[in-house]
């Protein structure tokens, strides 16, 4: 079966009901797409199909025939968003990170093109289907907003009275 994977036309022979997630990980060797729940709750398996973020654990391989699939491995050249995830510590354990980045990428691209910084509420609504258990999301918002040109605002540090 043919589909476009990260810009390259790719042929894979796999059962049509196999989950896109498993085809990517097992048949294509792209393990950057993660499985967190297998039921579309956590968003760790998010990839872009024809530009739209979807949960690859809920899509049969047969449904991406001739589609354009993009995974974290397809974000070439370390985008501003990826760099911001590093500098703002939007990734802690990192398992939700590829999904978060792919979910946020279309928003960041749009905002960058429009020369605006997405509002917190917009970022939150965009990421509502991506669970992170490490960060409390704060650093993730910061990474997305700084990737769009916002100034980084971090926690305050106060010296002690006693020691």
């Amino acid at each position: 079966m043919l589909f476009t994977l990260n810009g390259k036309i790719t042929e894979v022979s796999a059962p049509s009901m196999k989950r896109l997630l498993d085809v990517l990980r097992e048949d294509c060797g792209l393990t950057g797409t993660k499985e967190g729940c297998g039921e579309g709750e956590c968003g760790a398996c998010t990839v872009l199909v024809d530009g739209l973020p979807i949960n690859s654990c809920l899509v049969p391989f047969g449904q991406v025939q001739n589609a354009d699939v993009k995974t974290i491995e397809g974000l070439i050249g370390h985008t501003d968003l990826q760099k911001a995830f590093v500098s703002e510590c939007g990734a802690q354990c990192g398992i939700c990170t590829p999904g978060m980045i792919l979910m946020a990428a279309p928003l960041v691209e749009r905002a960058q093109a429009e020369g605006r910084i997405p509002a917190l509420a917009e970022v939150q609504e965009t990421l509502a289907g991506n669970l992170c258990r490490c960060t409390g999301y704060v650093a993730i918002y910061r990474a997305i907003q700084t990737a769009c040109g916002a100034k980084s605002e971090q926690a305050s540090v106060i010296s002690g009275e006693n020691g």
């Binding site: 510590c89 802690q92 354990c93 990192g94 409390g136 926690a155």
Partner: protein, 714 residues
């Protein structure tokens, strides 16, 4: 070269937000987690488990074509059938007696995952009546009594005696990467295990006992780990043992990766607790006598329960001075899957109770919640329930005052006035850094620093599980040596190359292991003098420095009587929560959380804030959403659809403030940070609800519980 290495200004690392060592590999999807690894000839393992909470196995029926399968039961265990930890009570595989639902009985492996899924095994059992209520349990894993002064005398002096019972539920870790292990056998009968884990040497020790082999025959390598929170402290030993048995029997690398359901049903959870307070107070709010009873549900086996209870009872008074204290704690057996380590380790349960109870005391006396805290909070030199004289870096009052300032507490309260359904709540708390009591002395942790031509390499068993171990330890070493952060490498946590630095738990990695590395670096700096690393290596040959934990001189602990210095030092935390509840749906909307923490020194301020923000979000889930539904001793909601953790839309703005009151024996003054943020938000939320007219005393304070409190308890 010398100048480059020694330029202090240029190479200031500690206190700077350097890039995470493995940051780029994580954001590009290149980081390898256990399920991302494959080995030549690898097969997949599956665990067959009990479906009943208690009983005996009558027969096992393999209702599939076993051709091509590797099948393992307890008879295949070469060493002892147990998971070595504190008490040797937990079998690796059930022989006949089932003690909890989802207990491992049989292991299957096959080269094809789908064949494995299709294999049907029927376990015929004889059910027995399970013990599911901890209050009805006749078996105690551990009982602790802490006693100070004379509580009866204290009650005699009191103007009021206030009693209350508070309950906390199970909590799932929900690391986004489920547990997994790969065991790889070698021709000489040794085994290497790769996996998602926090404590390589716990797994190492468990495998030696199970396999009956010397330490040289077992190697444990941590793979990139997608979150732990305590959930990958003890359970990975079980999965490693299972994978190793299948690998040894089949002679092939064997991978066991749990899916979410199996992970949520079979692995450990936070201990549920019932905490009862009886407190004698003077009319001005002075605490005169505190009698606290703590009952924790340990589940079917002991696992880490005694130490969870220990931390729980030591923190049970909250950060308040009182001359007369009695704390009685017990952790008991039930026929439910064993509970284990979870961020905070007993303290979130008891601190929830103490902080919620304190607001009830204030209410009874007609006092302000801040006033009663100001009056009783520990100051330096005060004496704890175990008799510890608190050190100079005791900053309960400072974190309280900073939190009030940051939150604009009094103005918000004024603004709310008697406005129904909105409230502000406070929680003040403490958290002992490192292992409890003589724990660190017993661990005798080691750390190694190796000189490289390009700088130095850190070799420790402390694991990176998201919190920033690699980065933060490299910063400490770089700063001590006066070298650049980039010149410090960090070895993988691989027992073949790292010494036993103790487990990555108890908020100890920075304070204890960081200090060990600082000592290594101090010696290395002295030894190489004015030479560059390259010059030193050419002249003197390899240089490797290992240091072993040394107890700060004044620390004393009597484990038999629970007297003395329970911890080297404490971190201090305060939350202020502003929330509203909805009169139509009884849902709580947290508007803002202020989180102020004295952590000694923020080695990496954004990472430290990240621990605070993430821990706070996890605690908000604990307080409001996260409920494990147990039916006949089995988790009935083992899916992320039905076990609810906070999404972006549920997580309020969290404002972290770090206070630095340095600890003399921590690296650059650092104390623990990882667990503490879990301790307070639940109490602050429940106190804010109380201020908004809702009296709940059990978490999670779900809309259902709030509805019951509002509609049926008045």
């Amino acid at each position: 070269m010398v100048e480059n290495f020694r330029n202090q200004d240029r190479y200031e690392s500690v206190g700077r937000n350097v890039d995470r060592k493995e940051g780029m590999s994580k954001v590009t999807g290149q980081a390898k987690y256990v399920d991302d690894l494959n080995f030549e000839g690898m097969i997949y393992g599956r665990t067959i488990r009990s479906e009943i909470p208690r009983g005996k196995i009558k027969a096992i029926h393999l209702e599939f074509d076993t051709e091509g399968f590797t099948i393992v039961d307890y008879r295949d265990i070469p060493g002892k059938n147990l998971i070595a930890l504190i008490q040797d009570d937990q079998p690796c595989l059930v022989e006949s007696e089932i003690n909890h639902a989802d207990e491992p009985i049989l292991l299957l492996a096959h080269p094809e995952k789908e064949k494995l899924l299709e294999a049907k095994v029927r376990i015929e059992t004889i059910s027995e009546i399970p013990v599911l209520d901890p209050l009805q349990s006749g078996k105690i894993f551990k009982e602790i009594l802490i006693s100070k002064g004379d509580i009866e005398a204290g009650f005699g002096l009191a103007d009021r005696i206030v009693e209350g019972e508070y309950r906390t539920g199970h909590q799932e870790h929900v690391y986004i990467e489920p547990n997994g292990m790969i065991a790889v056998p070698t021709p000489d009968g040794a085994i290497t295990v790769y996996g998602s884990l926090q404590c390589p040497y716990y797994v190492h020790g468990a495998l030696m006992v199970l396999l009956g082999v010397p330490e040289t025959k077992v190697r444990v390598v941590q793979t990139e780990t997608g979150g732990g929170f305590g959930g990958k402290e003890d359970y990975p030993s079980i999965i490693a043992c299972h994978a190793a048995l299948l690998a040894l029997k089949s002679g092939r690398p064997t991978k066991i990766v749990y899916d979410r359901v199996e992970d949520m049903q079979a692995t450990t959870r936070r201990h549920p607790a019932i905490v009862r307070h009886r407190t004698g107070v003077a009319a001005d709010g002075t605490l005169l006598s505190m009698d606290v009873e703590v009952i924790m549900d340990g589940g079917a086996y002991c696992t880490l329960s005694p130490v969870v209870l220990s931390r729980g009872v030591i923190h049970a008074t909250g950060p308040y001075r009182c001359d007369n204290v009695r704390i009685r704690g017990r952790v008991v057996h039930t026929n439910t899957p064993p509970n284990g380590a979870f961020r905070g380790f007993g303290a979130p349960q008891t601190l929830f109770a103490s902080e919620v109870h304190l607001d009830r005391i204030a209410h009874t006396l007609g006092l302000d919640p801040i006033e009663i805290r100001e009056k009783n909070a520990f100051r330096p030199g005060d004496v704890t329930a175990t008799g510890q004289v608190l050190p100079e870096d005791t900053s309960a009052l400072q974190v309280l005052r900073e939190a009030l300032k940051k939150s604009d507490y009094y103005n918000i309260r004024k603004k709310i006035g008697t406005q129904a359904k909105r409230g502000v709540g406070v929680a003040l708390y403490w958290h002992g850094s490192g292992f409890t009591g003589a724990g660190e002395v017993k661990l005798a942790s080691k750390a190694t620093l190796e000189l490289l031509p390009s700088g130095a390499k850190v070799r420790v068993a402390s694991t990176e599980i998201g919190q920033g171990t690699r980065t933060m330890l490299a910063q400490i070493v770089a700063q001590t040596l006066g070298w650049s952060y980039d010149s410090i490498e960090v070895s993988p946590a691989d027992t073949a190359v790292v010494p036993d630095s103790g487990p990555t738990v108890a908020s100890r990695t920075c304070m204890i292991v960081g200090r060990l590395l600082q000592r290594c670096a101090e010696e290395m700096r002295f030894r190489i003098g004015n030479l560059t690393p390259k010059q030193y290596l050419e002249k003197h040959g390899p240089l490797e420095i290992t240091k072993v934990y040394e107890k700060p001189p004044a620390i004393q602990w009597d484990d038999e009587h629970y007297r003395g210095d329970a911890y080297g030092t404490y971190g201090w935390g305060c939350n202020v929560v502003d929330l509203e509840w909805d009169a139509v749906t009884y849902e709580v909307k947290v508007k803002k959380v202020i989180a102020v923490f004295d952590i000694g020194k923020a080695i990496h301020p954004i990472f430290a804030a990240g621990q605070i923000e993430g821990g706070t979000a996890q605690a908000i889930g604990y307080a409001l959403h996260e409920e494990v539904v147990m039916r006949n001793g089995r988790v009935a909601n083992p899916q992320l659809t039905n076990y609810i953790i906070p999404t972006t839309m549920d997580t309020p703005p969290i404002e972290a403030v770090i206070v630095e009151n340095s600890y003399r024996f921590g690296p650059f003054g650092a104390k623990g940070v990882g667990e503490m943020p879990m301790d307070g938000p639940a109490a602050a939320i429940v106190n804010a609800l109380f201020a908004a007219g809702v009296d709940v005393r059990e978490i999670p304070a779900t809309p259902e519980r709030i509805m019951e409190a509002v509609c049926y308890s008045r």
